[in-house]
């Protein structure tokens, strides 16, 4: 199966291991992964800050880049949600209403990673080995806007050696919210403080999620407080095997 990877701007620039892990997992499951280099950003940051007009050229570039592919997979619930639910109205209001059908069609064949593996490939055991104590944060947009529900947990349950510990108040937002973390830094920090507190009560070595953005935020709080607890993207856990384990700061690697 030929699959286009939409890495997201954040992963491309700040968290390449997440995209590499996505390529590894999909490859192991028999997919031929392509990374069209003309991709940039889904425009979500601009859209959610009130600059949908500025996001419009990014939306157009996204359509032109990914339209040739039958499947688009992205390691982000938030960006998948933006592509599916925001790109159509941005196209209608700021690009060309005639393009909306094509944009919607692309949105419908764009999948968040766990959604793609479980619902499209029909796989829950990806052959991963990750012998660590991990807690899972259900990132808001993936859980609520995409309706991922238990999909990421289904994958985690099948990972050999992984001890999954339940996160108290798991459904609570970590406080990232894009520019919210800067425009309302105090409220955002208060939300993060509680999230960090709940993670620490689990005794987990790392917190995982389907979004690198939430993990950047949560990881920022864990690191600032020198908690020794790390963040790891779901893709990185799924890519990890006996012979090629994923190494993070929390399990002996270098940050």
């Amino acid at each position: 199966m030929r699959v286009a990877l939409f890495a997201t701007c954040l992963v491309d620039a700040m968290a390449p291991p997440v995209a590499k892990a996505t390529v590894t997992v999909l490859g192991r499951l028999g997919c031929t992964v392509e990374f069209p280099l003309s991709q940039t950003c889904c425009g979500q940051m601009h859209t959610n800050t009130g600059y949908a007009d500025m996001a419009a050229p990014m939306v157009k570039n996204h359509l032109e880049t990914f339209e040739p592919y039958e499947y688009v997979v992205t390691p982000s619930g938030s960006c998948a949600a933006s592509i599916r639910h925001q790109h159509p109205w941005i196209t209608r209001d700021y690009l060309d209403p005639e393009l909306v059908d094509r944009v919607e069609a692309l949105g419908n064949r764009t999948y968040e990673l766990s959604e793609f593996i479980v619902n499209v490939l029909g796989v829950t055991d990806v052959g991963a080995v990750y012998p660590h104590r991990v807690t899972y944060h259900p990132a808001c947009h993936g859980t609520r806007t995409l309706g991922l529900g238990e999909l990421p947990l289904k994958l985690l349950h099948e990972v050999r050696g992984l001890e999954l510990v339940e996160l108290p108040e798991a459904a609570g937002c970590c406080g990232f919210g894009g520019t919210f973390a800067i425009k309302n830094a105090d409220v955002s920090s208060a939300m993060l403080a509680d999230k960090v507190h709940h993670i620490l009560t689990t005794g987990a070595e790392a917190c995982t999620a389907v979004d690198a953005s939430c993990l950047l935020h949560i990881g920022g709080g864990l690191s600032r407080n020198r908690t020794g607890v790390d963040t790891i993207h779901l893709a990185e856990i799924l890519a990890s095997t006996e012979t090629d384990p994923t190494v993070t700061a929390a399990n002996g690697g270098q940050p």
Binding site: F35, T40, T49, Y51, M54, R144, S189
Partner: protein, 497 residues
């Protein structure tokens, strides 16, 4: 019922809210900072919202057809809004036929003038009040006081707020920010100044506090001739107005005085009696987490020898038609003021209601307040959300609050005074980079150099605007190589461009 095109066009320039002191305040980030530092407030609100949140979840899960009820509630409200003018005239006809008098108020100022005139005609110097958001919105108590008329709140929580010279901080539980020790103190200090004092040796047991309020209020009910209420619903086909409540104090106000004045937002209308079947299931479960509220009072005009002998219904616009005229905003008029969205909101839970500066706080307040005032008078509230979506999940009439917030943010960013902000310049520069694959590739390649400025692989202090982030959070150093450069080096033939 089906939504049909409205029978009359929406006015070209509908009126905005006036007397807006209770609909906006100082910028949210600054007000929130103060609230976040109040540990008592944080504890009171956190505890109360979690309790109601959990109760709601249990009673909503009991109903197998909740999803259908929610869709029906949204559809009935949408269909009503599509023909609001027709239904409002039908309501006026029915209320008038039943012996009531209907008044039309374009904005807060007009509504307050109407109520003051009615009080003066009844020669009232004191009025009792049923808990009402509409009268808080228009600052009726303040307008009455300026006219020499004292308004006495009779809802227990509103009484606590009024005696404490305070503002409501929640739509349903206005005194949610107070704990029982604080309430005891307010009762002891203030009750005697305005009426029957609190009993000596008052404890902070809820039953004792409620009894003190009951005794204090009883005297008011028996000595006051005019009552003022809001309304939860009004049925167009019968002219019936309805108030749902928990305490029975509302029913005292609605039945004992000679004159009853009801101030009702025009969106409270429902077409038929049968529609109540839906809303009386949605509202109590969503608001107090009860299967049914203890008191439901309904009245149709006046009945000779029973209850108020004079009934006035003030239909309030105050920005509602303007909200209706906004295709992306009109769904906010579905709101039945249950406050389920406040109780699940991670922002509200930590700041409480006062930080919003509007008597409509929380997620629904962050959309409703700017819709009523116009975004130019409420520029920070649309940003008072992480867009987590918890509000949309619990809304009994399926208002997509996160999408509406994004829509309002777009309106704020388009205001003339925002045309040259540093934020806009920065966003424009980023958009310029991010809409071009070659500029993006070069830009993140040069960003990689930033890692030499990091310590131990992280930044702990950055200049504005990133300083807001690094005040409490580290930022990882950029990697040596972006993913796209790694990919291009690995398999250049796979790249599509």
């Amino acid at each position: 019922m089906t939504a049909t095109a409205g029978s009359g066009p929406i006015p070209v320039d509908p009126p905005r809210a006036t007397n807006t002191g209770h609909l906006h305040g100082r910028p949210f980030p600054a007000a929130a900072r103060v609230a976040l530092g109040d540990s008592q407030l944080r504890r009171n609100i956190g505890k109360a919202t979690h309790t109601i949140r959990d109760k709601r979840a249990i009673v909503v899960d009991e109903l197998a057809d909740w999803r259908e009820l929610r869709a029906a509630g949204a559809a009935i409200k949408d269909a009503t809004m599509a023909r609001l003018d027709t239904y409002l005239e039908q309501l006026e006809e029915q209320v008038t036929a039943a012996g009531g008098v209907v008044h039309w108020a374009a904005d807060a100022d007009e509504a307050n003038r109407i109520v003051i005139d009615l009080c003066r005609r009844a020669e009232a110097t004191d009025v009792v009040k049923v808990k009402s958001m509409a009268t808080q919105e228009i600052r009726l108590n303040e307008a009455l006081a300026d006219a020499g008329i004292s308004a006495w709140e009779t809802d227990l929580a509103e009484l606590i707020v009024q005696l404490g010279h305070d503002m409501p901080s929640h739509i349903l539980v206005p005194a949610i920010h107070r704990n029982r020790a604080e309430i005891r103190e307010i009762f002891n200090r203030e009750m005697g100044k305005v009426g029957r004092p609190a009993p000596s040796g008052l404890s902070d047991e809820p039953a004792a506090l409620a009894e003190a309020a009951r005794v204090h209020l009883r005297q008011r009910f028996l000595s006051t001739d005019v009552a003022i209420s809001g309304a939860n619903f009004a049925v167009a086909e019968t002219g019936t107005v309805m108030v749902v409540e928990s305490e029975g104090n509302g029913r005292m106000c609605l039945t004992l005085p000679r004159t009853l004045i009801t101030v009702m937002g025009i969106e409270k209308l429902i077409p038929t009696w049968r529609d109540l079947e839906v809303f009386l299931q949605l509202l109590p479960r969503s608001s107090t987490g009860e299967r049914m509220n203890p008191y439901t009072t309904m009245w149709t005009g006046v009945t000779e020898g029973d209850g108020p002998q004079e009934f006035h219904l003030v239909l309030l616009d105050n920005g509602r038609t303007a909200a209706l005229a906004d295709p992306e905003g009109r769904a906010a008029l579905r709101c039945i003021r249950c406050s389920a969205c406040l109780n699940v909101c991670p922002v509200y839970e930590r700041t409480g209601g006062h930080a919003y500066g509007s008597i409509y706080p929380g997620p629904i307040g962050a959309v409703l307040s700017p819709l009523l005032t116009g975004v130019e008078d409420n520029t920070s509230l649309p940003f008072a959300s992480s867009l987590c979506g918890a509000c949309y999940d619990v809304c009994p009439v399926a208002i997509d609050i996160p999408s509406m917030l994004v829509h309002l943010r777009t309106k704020v960013a388009a205001l003339p005074e925002k045309a040259r902000t540093p934020e806009r310049q920065l966003m424009r520069a980023l958009a310029w980079v991010m809409s071009s694959p070659s500029r993006w590739t070069r830009s993140i390649r040069s960003m990689g150099l930033g890692r030499f400025l990091a310590r131990n692989g992280r930044f702990s202090s950055m200049p504005p605007p990133i300083s807001g982030w690094t005040a409490t959070r580290d930022l990882p150093a950029p990697p040596e190589q972006s993913f796209r450069d790694w990919w291009a080096a690995r398999a250049p033939e796979d790249g599509a461009s």
